[in-house]
């Protein structure tokens, strides 16, 4: 007798095939009462988390299921998401059967992706936790340069928030405590005057563009 998987997750194909904005749940199976059907619940809520720069290039990405098995598909998806959300600065979007929540900061875009059947607010809470934790780790400079210089901190933060698609922690304070990492103060002071001016210019540019 076949053993089913521990907890059947909502099938990625269903969501994608429905391709309807929060439309009806997948059609009721034969024998079931017709109408709305609650999805089989699962703890595997998060499908992916990624951070893109303002050109849509990946800085950090973690995929937790095989909705996008190859790198190529992942990149295409990221590009798609970026195109849809970066211009309009939308915080929540629906794409290909998945709900995507987005947060932008200076020159970074943070995304959390879940199936469209999930509670959107949970996705938002993960996103907020990620942002707040990074905010602390990067000393309030959540921008590309700092992220790149403190990539290890970012990896650790994400590892503490989501593990294999299951939400591990959503309280930024707890995450910060566990990661126990702060961006190097010294590198800030080592900046040359030119660099400081440059970063100031960029900051102004971005704030004007908003």
């Amino acid at each position: 007798m076949q053993r089913p998987e521990a907890w059947p997750r909502p099938h990625p194909g269903e969501g994608a095939a429905a391709a309807q904005a929060g439309g009806p749940a997948p059609p009721a199976r034969v024998g079931e009462p017709a109408g709305l059907r609650l999805q089989e619940p699962s703890l595997y809520i998060i499908k992916a988390v990624f951070i893109l720069d303002n050109d849509g290039h990946r800085l950090l990405a973690k995929y937790y299921d095989d909705t996008f098995p190859s790198l190529k598909e992942q990149m295409a998806f990221e590009k798609n998401v970026f195109n849809k959300t970066s211009r309009t600065d939308s915080e929540i979007a629906f794409l290909g059967g998945m709900t995507i929540v987005c947060k932008s900061s200076t020159d970074l875009f943070l995304y959390v992706v879940g199936s469209s059947h999930e509670n959107e607010l949970m996705l938002v809470s993960v996103l907020t936790c990620l942002f707040e934790s990074l905010n602390h780790v990067l000393r309030k400079n959540v921008e590309k340069r700092w992220l790149l210089e403190n990539m290890d901190g970012a990896f650790l933060v994400l590892d503490e928030i989501v593990d294999g698609g299951v939400i591990l922690e959503s309280d930024p304070q707890q995450v910060i405590q566990k990661v126990n990492f702060r961006a190097d103060d010294s590198s800030l002071t080592e900046q040359s005057v030119a660099q400081v001016l440059q970063s100031a210019k960029e900051q102004i540019k971005w704030s004007l563009l908003k």
């Binding site: 521990a6 607010l121 593990d163 922690e169």
Partner: protein
Amino acid sequence: HLEKSAVLQEARIFNETPINPRRCLHILTKILYLLNQGEHFGTTEATEAFFAMTRLFQSNDQTLRRMCYLTIKEMATISEDVIIVTSSLTKDMTGKEDVYRGPAIRALCRITDGTMLQAIERYMKQAIVDKVSGVSSSALVSSLHMMKISHDVVKRWVNEAQEAASSDNIMVQVLPLSHTGCFSVCLCFELCILHLFFLLSNDALCIFITSHESPLFDFIESCLRNKHEMVIYEAASAIIHLPNCTARELAPAVSVLQLFCSSPKPALRYAAVRTLNKVAMKHPSAVTACNLDLENLITDSNRSIATLAITTLLKTGSESSVDRLMKQISSFVSEISDEFKVVVVQAISALCQKYPRKHSVMMTFLSNMLRDDGGFEYKRAIVDCIISIVEENPEGKEAGLAHLCEFIEDCEHTVLATKILHLLGKEGPRTPVPSKYIRFIFNRVVLENEAVRAGYWKFLGYRDMPLLCPLDRCMMDTDDEVRDRATFYLNVLQQRQMALNATYIFNGLTVSVPGMEKALHQYTLEPSEKPFDMKSIPLAMAPVFEQKAEIMFVATKPEKFAPSRQDIFQEQLAAIPEFMDLGPLFKSSEPVQLTEAETEYFVRCVKHVFTNHIVFQFDCTNTLNDQLLEKVTVQMEPSESHEVLCCLPAPSLAYNQPGICYTLVRLPDDDSTAGTNPQEGGERSKNASQLELLTVGANLWFFSKMKYGLMLVCAVCRPVTSACPQRERQPLTLTFASVPLPSGLSTTRAFPLAPRAADVPG
């Protein structure tokens, strides 16, 4: 800007002593970054890097160690011999440094396979009940992942999991019990989350909360007044998903969602409008109260929200609001993606069904959309919508056909063009002036590709001689199929016999195509002088509501109800005297095949669950043509607590004549096998029926009845984090004494009411 080979070269410094934590950390980060960017690492280089990394365990730098754990996880699948770090990880997970323990566990579980799991089993069990929340939660999450690898082993940890659930951990999970009683419960986050979990029987049936009188409903409803939005939303979502919910019960959930519609947070608005959209499908009247809020959302800056708002309004709107709504949609439809456009079109289609008098407004709108740019799915949705108006609404027919004709003049999608041409052929003759469509058809035949030309034969409904001229032309077409069809139909038509026309032109194939294919194939294999007999092919199962099913809405027409399979069984069983007193039939399972295909007899089993009994129905077929079997029974050996009451034999089984024999088994009355130890399972024989009950902790309870799928409800509530002062915590009250347990299960079990003072952590 990073070069893999250069980085791997740098990784050589891992072997140096003393270890420079900063530099090593830097390089390790670069390696992880490369992996994250999708850089491919060959097995050899990955293994080398991995082994080099293991040297870094000698350093006590916290961040470095944590990064090592991450590297282990990332490289677990691409490097060989990763299990060499097992002992280091085990040491860390049982060591003094709390900060290492959680991550070490998670790393360890990533590299552990089924064979090794037993070796670390005791560590895992200890970790699950550890007082440090990070350790416990890591252990539990890892156990969840390990369920996929080694179900049986992880199942044994459930006692520890229960214990953990009763502690003050913020993040606790309870593991699945068995493959037939799979569930897991997440008490998590800093907020209260309510999940309703359902028991899957081994026939993979989900049974939902069937009674809205269930005391659980009150509990969910009370969650609507919770402090945290996430909980409120989850509760509202749960309520609207309950089957058989009346409008009155929906009302509190809907009003909560209504409030969310005006929230400043986009995610909340989105969640609310998406859920209202679902409610509107079944209970449009319940959503009417929100119409004003929904109209405000049409101008929302987030297009997804705006689209959902519009489609919901289309479901709930009155006839008078249709004009206004359509105008609003047309203003922004060009801005939304194709996916949403399809949704909007489908909503319009539903609206057309509902308000046929508004067809002209909608038709104008649809034709405009048809002229705009858009993908195939989008255009097809529109065409389908127009076709359904044409077919069902006589007043809209001419306009619809006219628009479609205009469309096919310049349509790049062959499928759509052919479909429309078919429609023209069918509907054209019924219009007052059919000849005006001939021009369009003729143009298509002349200008289009083969598929369209071949489909031309449908027009012969016109019985109009001038049409036969193009047919002549088709007989000289360059494409084989076009010529064949033209010749065939020309000959049929020239006979001028209605009967022939009907058989060969109008009526499609009534047989199933795959069946015909198989039969034809068979025919060609065996040389035979008899002509091929169409009657030997099974008839096609005509999908009745196929068209409607594509548009996912609930039709307002009353649906025909065929007697369900279960009803049939109920009748059959009630007719048997021994089974008359069993009470109502709760559920019948799907048939399970018990024998191999080539044995002497073929047996299938269907289980019928009654209140206190189970009837096993064995459908037996004798496959030996030289034997007659008499008084056939199937022997069953159930477990101790289940009693076989009687066996009804099948009197005789002749060759290939299926017969039925029954066995009646009584379920045990007392289910106090519940306790904290679930019964050991293993591969259950199909004839056994077992029961498992489980209670966990003070704030968490549930029960499960395996295999015969009862409602499993898990109420999960957790106070806010321990960081929060006690007075701010939400008191938990489960305001019911017991869940109604069907089927003789004891109701005297004391499910906890309110958390006792001792349980609420101070």
